[in-house]
């Protein structure tokens, strides 16, 4: 746990004084990732650098596990906090193994333990130890270098990680991948992480909480969902972007809106005339045809008219199936691409799990913003 209490940082003195951070207070709970987000010069990096005393506090307190950082030895403090920065922070004169071993070596671990730990970390970050141990940073791709950067931060198994735009210098495809890997790792390791980013997408994806900064002030400190659906003021709403409804969908999964027991279900062997009658009576525009637990497609009135025989012969197959984990943003995109208003979710074996309709998606978005009108009115200026 890291607690920031009325933290203020002023650079320079007298007339040149610049207030980089103004009376910021919040807490990073144990085991969570908190993303410090904001435009450049907003104070997010300063907050991080105050934490390991790369900058010195002007006023206020920062405590780590209830211990004031100003009472700790600065070198010990830094060795206790894992520090990950962009790939350019790897030492070019040291091998990958030596880079990772920096903090364990400073802590005086014995050689055997260091090398075992290095190999363990390389495997953890998906780098083959035999291949990469003795290479130099220049020989690795940007994504690989960043993995080494993460491994280096984790080397001495710190409870707390400070990450300064760690994935900022990587191309979008690799960034996506390394973010996923990192989240998987975090699910196991449960570190307390302060993570600086200027990218709203990254913040939504990585953060358990987001601390949104602007001009040295903490504007809003909330979960990504709340930031997206209840932005505190115009700055937050603008920063989050006009497409925040889509971003909310990016956070939600098929499992959040799925209809597990839809009423418009037909079986493959049902007769077409019976099926047509069923649809007409119940007022359904289409029916989902299921055979042996598997959705094989859908039929509507037009397809069944004047036909007889089992419905399976008239079925229009679905262009694709969803998984429970698919994000609603992707679902919406599929619907637009394939011009479908209903898609089916299936489990790992292809068995029917439920349906997601365009209306369901619209409804959750509307619900998310239902209370926005009110919260906008009692907006408090900071």
């Amino acid at each position: 746990m890291i607690t920031y209490e009325s933290v203020t940082k002023i650079f320079g003195t007298g007339r040149d004084a610049v207030t980089a951070l103004d009376n910021v207070s919040f807490t990073i709970p144990k085991g969570e990732i908190v993303v410090f987000l904001g435009p450049s010069g907003c104070g997010k990096t300063t907050t991080l650098r105050l934490t390991n005393r790369l900058e010195t506090l002007t006023r206020g307190n920062i405590t780590i596990e209830d211990q004031n950082i100003m009472d700790m030895d600065v070198v010990e403090l830094r060795q206790r906090l894992g520090y990950v920065i962009q790939a350019i922070g790897l030492f070019p004169n040291k091998t990958i193994a030596e880079n990772i071993a920096v903090v364990p070596k400073l802590l005086g671990w014995d050689k055997k333990r260091i090398w075992e730990r290095v190999d363990e970390l390389l495997r953890m970050t998906n780098l083959e130890p035999e291949l990469y141990r003795d290479r130099f940073p220049a020989e690795l791709s940007g994504g690989q270098q960043q993995r080494v950067g993460v491994a280096r931060g984790l080397a001495a198994d710190p409870d707390i990680l400070l990450m300064d735009e760690p994935f900022g210098a990587i191309d979008p495809i690799n960034r996506e991948q390394i973010q996923n890997e990192f989240l998987k790792l975090q699910a196991k390791l449960k570190k307390t992480i302060a993570f600086v980013s200027h990218d709203i997408h990254e913040a939504i994806k990585m953060g358990d909480h987001i601390a949104l900064f602007d001009r040295g002030r903490l504007i809003q400190y909330e979960t990504p969902e709340v930031i997206l659906t209840q932005p505190k003021n115009k700055f937050v709403a603008d920063f989050v972007g006009a497409d925040r409804a889509l971003k909310v969908l990016g956070l939600m999964k098929v499992s959040d809106v799925i209809n597990r027991k839809p009423k418009n279900i037909l079986r493959g062997e049902d007769d077409a005339r019976e099926a047509l009658k069923f649809l007409d009576e119940k007022g359904f525009r289409y029916g989902i045809v299921i055979e042996q637990d598997r959705p094989i497609g859908y039929v509507n009135q037009k397809m069944l008219k004047y036909e007889s025989g089992p419905v399976r012969e008239f079925v229009e197959p679905f262009p694709l199936f969803l998984k429970e984990r698919t994000s609603l943003r992707d679902v919406l995109s599929f619907m637009l691409m394939y011009d479908e208003v209903t898609l089916c979710a299936v489990d790992e074996d292809g068995r029917f799990g439920g349906t997601v309709t365009y209306n369901d998606i619209q409804k959750v978005v509307r619900e998310s913003y239902a209370d926005e009108a009110e919260s906008r009115e009692d907006e408090v200026s900071p």
Binding site: I85, I88, F91, P92, N93, L106, F136, P137, A138, L162
Partner: protein, 216 residues
């Protein structure tokens, strides 16, 4: 010249000895001074300015200036003032290169080192000095080549070395002697330059070499 091969070898050796000794003294003064002024920027311009002024004093004038002072210790002539002069002249390239090299270590690396809890000595030893070494050696290389030339002039105050041929050749109006002295000094400079270049390469950290190769 061939008839005097023993003498040529002796004078060459003497020449190398003067230059080598001056570098051995100059390095432990210049390198720490160069590092020191990266830590205390306010002195940087003054120290570099001072070294620059030293550089502009003509060598003959410097020998003349030192003569009355060193005479007090009965060392006004010979190798002592020669070595002192060379040490002084070496300071500019050594200090300047050290200062530039340390300052050019990327700030992100210094930050990373600090953030991981290296104290300033560890930072110097593990990051800054290894990365700066090639440029520092390049400074020594400049100083060495320059000093070979200046040491030739020091023959006038009786320091010995290959300058003796030039000096005596001028006095006796013996062009062949002047020429052979000049050629020998030049050859020596070329050899030393080559050797220092090899040293520069040898001390470049492996990782940096790899980086340079891949950047090309």
């Amino acid at each position: 010249m061939l008839d005097n091969s023993a003498q040529v070898f002796f004078l060459s050796w003497e020449h190398i000895w003067i230059v080598g000794l001056s570098l051995l003294i100059a390095t432990p003064i210049g390198v720490p001074l160069g590092i020191l002024i990266t830590r205390h920027e306010q002195f940087a311009s003054r120290v570099l300015g001072g070294a620059n002024i030293l550089m502009t004093v003509p060598s003959i004038a410097l020998f003349g200036l030192m003569l009355p002072i060193l005479s007090v210790f009965d060392m006004g002539l010979g190798k002592v003032p020669a070595v002192i002069a060379l040490v002084l002249y070496s300071q500019l390239p050594i200090i300047r290169n050290t200062y530039t090299a340390i300052r050019n270590v990327p700030p992100s690396l210094v930050d990373a080192a600090r953030g991981m809890g290296m104290d300033k000595w560890k930072r110097l030893r593990e990051v800054e000095i290894p990365l700066a070494t090639p440029v520092i050696i390049a400074g020594l290389r400049t100083a060495a080549v320059m000093n070979i030339g200046i040491a030739a002039i020091a023959a006038y105050i009786g320091s010995g070395g290959l300058g003796v041929y030039i000096q005596q050749g001028i006095e006796r109006v013996y062009p062949e002697m002047i020429l052979s002295g000049a050629i020998l000094v030049s050859i020596l400079a070329v050899i030393v330059d080559g050797a220092m270049a090899a040293l520069e390469k040898a001390v470049t950290p492996e990782g940096i070499k790899v980086q340079r190769r891949l950047m090309r």
